[in-house]
């Protein structure tokens, strides 16, 4: 295409926005509202996701070693565990260390459990991390067939429930975002369709004087793109500003011990990019699909 023509299409697209200012306003508003809701949901979902991930990463398999296992046998067991599928890392926790951790976690002040130190009831153990949190159970089962093992613990019930909950949460989030996007696309393409119906005669005349379909489509393409970009401005400002404020003032209240809400940057930048992208996509899709109908003259 000639540069002059491209400039013309840009100018036409811009002019059309102005000429149909009310319709443009309606479309931009629709995009704005949709992107705002999508933006808020994205923030929620991304945070939830990171929260879930950090919970999931805490899932590990505890392999308690038989009392009276020799050092060589321990090394052998470690080797065998290492060779299991999906094992990411293994660490050895001796029974003394284990007791320290236990006492620490139970109480720090009273010293009521210090007496346990005289006769340590714990076993030495290996702590295994699976490559994927979902593989924990598999690893635990495979490990249970090995020798020199007293017992295996990976919090069966808790882990299973946790994964079920996180799976459902993720699906709900995804369905919400996708559903919202489709609703918005429908809304916007309808709004744009209205502006195009009003310009049906213009398209008809363009066709009569020998404009190619591509030529007719371009200004609408530009217009849709601009609608998308304009519609993204307010949501981006609101979502970024709002999140920034939230993070700076309420980060502590919103955090649950090990899981914290994500920092403002680069998250808001990424979300802004996604919002502009969705806006442009929806705008272009809406206008190009609606104009297509009128090109079949």
């Amino acid at each position: 295409m000639k540069g002059r023509t491209l400039a013309r299409h840009g100018k036409e697209g811009l002019k059309n926005l102005g000429r149909n200012s009310w319709m443009s306003f309606a479309s931009v508003s629709a995009v704005t509202i949709m992107l705002f809701v999508v933006g808020v949901f994205l923030l929620l979902i991304v945070n939830m996701n990171s929260f879930i991930s950090s919970v999931e990463e805490d899932v590990e398999v505890q392999v308690y070693i038989d009392l009276g296992t020799s050092d060589e046998e321990q090394t052998e067991l470690r080797q065998q565990l290492q060779n299991l599928d999906h094992v990411d890392g293994i660490s050895f926790v001796s029974k003394d260390e284990g007791l320290d951790q236990l006492i620490d976690s139970l109480d720090q002040q009273s010293g009521a459990f210090e007496s346990l130190r005289n006769e340590n009831p714990l076993n030495d153990k290996f702590v295994i991390q699976a490559e994927q949190p979902q593989q924990t159970e598999q690893v635990a089962e495979a490990a249970s067939d090995l020798p020199y093992i007293d017992s295996i613990d990976y919090g069966e019930q808790v882990v299973e429930q946790l994964f079920n909950v996180t799976k459902i949460l993720r699906i709900i989030g995804l369905v919400l975002v996708v559903g919202l996007m489709f609703t918005a696309m429908f809304l916007i393409s309808n709004t744009i369709k209205l502006t195009i119906v009003a310009r049906q005669q213009e398209i008809q005349i363009m066709k009569l004087v020998g404009a190619t379909n591509g030529f007719i489509r371009w200004p609408f393409f530009v217009e849709g793109l601009l609608l998308g970009v304009l519609g993204a401005v307010i949501p981006i400002a609101a979502v970024t500003g709002g999140y920034h404020y939230l993070y700076n003032n309420y980060a502590e209240q919103l955090s649950i011990d090990f899981a914290e809400i994500l920092p403002t940057y680069p998250l808001t930048l990424q979300i802004s990019a996604v919002l502009v992208g969705i806006g442009i996509l929806v705008g272009i899709w809406g206008s190009v699909t609606s104009v297509r109908k009128f090109l079949k003259v």
Partner: protein, 273 residues
């Protein structure tokens, strides 16, 4: 009357011309020689229809076995009662509609095999004028005419020059900055004619161009169309205007119930009052 009689101003060329051309064309495609052999036809014939029929999806038959040959530079009236098929006939030419049967050639382009994406290039050879002008109300006279050149991507200076030339021809140079609703009906029709001819089409098709105009204004429009015709552009005009057809004697093609019932060199409007 017999349909399909060739009665152009080159009346010395016998009526067998279409037949010969047809054969030659067949031969050229079989030998894969894309050079057009039928030079005569290239030079003289602008519109050729063979056995054209059009039946709409709902079963209504609009045209029936139309055979016609229109030469370059002709001025042709298309007359006939409403609903006789005039509009379908005209729409075939600028490929707004496609025949269900037969073949149409416009300036060497076969409309039956013409691909959808090449239709715009056909339309650039054809200027269309409507009864209701079809001007864009938000564009000035100049912009309305320039529109036709913009879409075919002419440079700005060419557009300016051509538009002013054409506005001069339709005597609206002094109203270039006006908007359509500030003009009279006759002036609006002149703008639409200017738009139709601004890219130097081979043929101007006017669908009842005087249908909405008073008699005086109608004569003005005819004056302009004749002028355009005198400069070599073929004009095809569907009309109900008896006075004009009877006063400005041109070739008359009469269509009734989808058939050509009359084709006369210097014909009358015909239908009795």
């Amino acid at each position: 009357m017999i349909s399909g009689v060739v009665r152009g101003k080159y009346s010395t060329i016998p009526a067998v011309l279409p037949g010969i051309c047809h054969l030659l064309r067949k031969w050229t495609t079989t030998t894969k020689n894309h050079l057009r052999v039928c030079l005569l036809q290239e030079v003289i014939v602008l519109i050729e229809m063979n056995n054209v029929s059009k039946t709409y999806a709902n079963g209504v038959s609009a045209l029936n076995n139309i055979d016609i040959l229109i030469e370059k530079g002709e001025f042709v009236y298309v007359v006939g009662p409403s609903g006789a098929g005039k509009s379908s006939f005209i729409k075939m030419i600028y490929r707004e509609e496609k025949p269900t049967e037969g073949s149409i050639q416009i300036h060497g382009t076969d409309l039956m095999t013409l691909k959808e994406k090449h239709v715009p290039f056909l339309r650039r050879k054809i200027g269309v004028v409507f009864q209701d002008f079809k001007l864009l109300p938000k564009l000035s006279v100049f912009e309305n005419v320039a529109f036709a050149l913009e879409v075919i991507e002419e440079p700005k200076d060419v557009i300016r020059r051509r538009v002013m030339e054409v506005l001069d021809v339709v005597r609206l140079k002094n109203k270039a900055r006006f908007f359509p609703d500030e003009l009279s009906g006759g002036e609006q029709q002149r703008v639409s004619i200017a738009r139709a001819v601004v890219n130097n089409p081979r043929v101007v098709i006017a669908d009842e161009p005087t249908g909405n105009l008073d008699p005086d204004t109608s004569w003005e429009i005819m004056d302009i169309l004749e002028n355009i015709n005198r400069n070599g552009t073929t004009v095809l005009m569907a009309t109900h205007n008896r006075e004009i057809v009877n006063a400005i004697k041109k070739r008359v093609i009469a269509i009734e119930s989808g058939r050509i019932v009359r084709d006369e060199m210097k014909g009358d409007y015909g239908y009795e009052r």
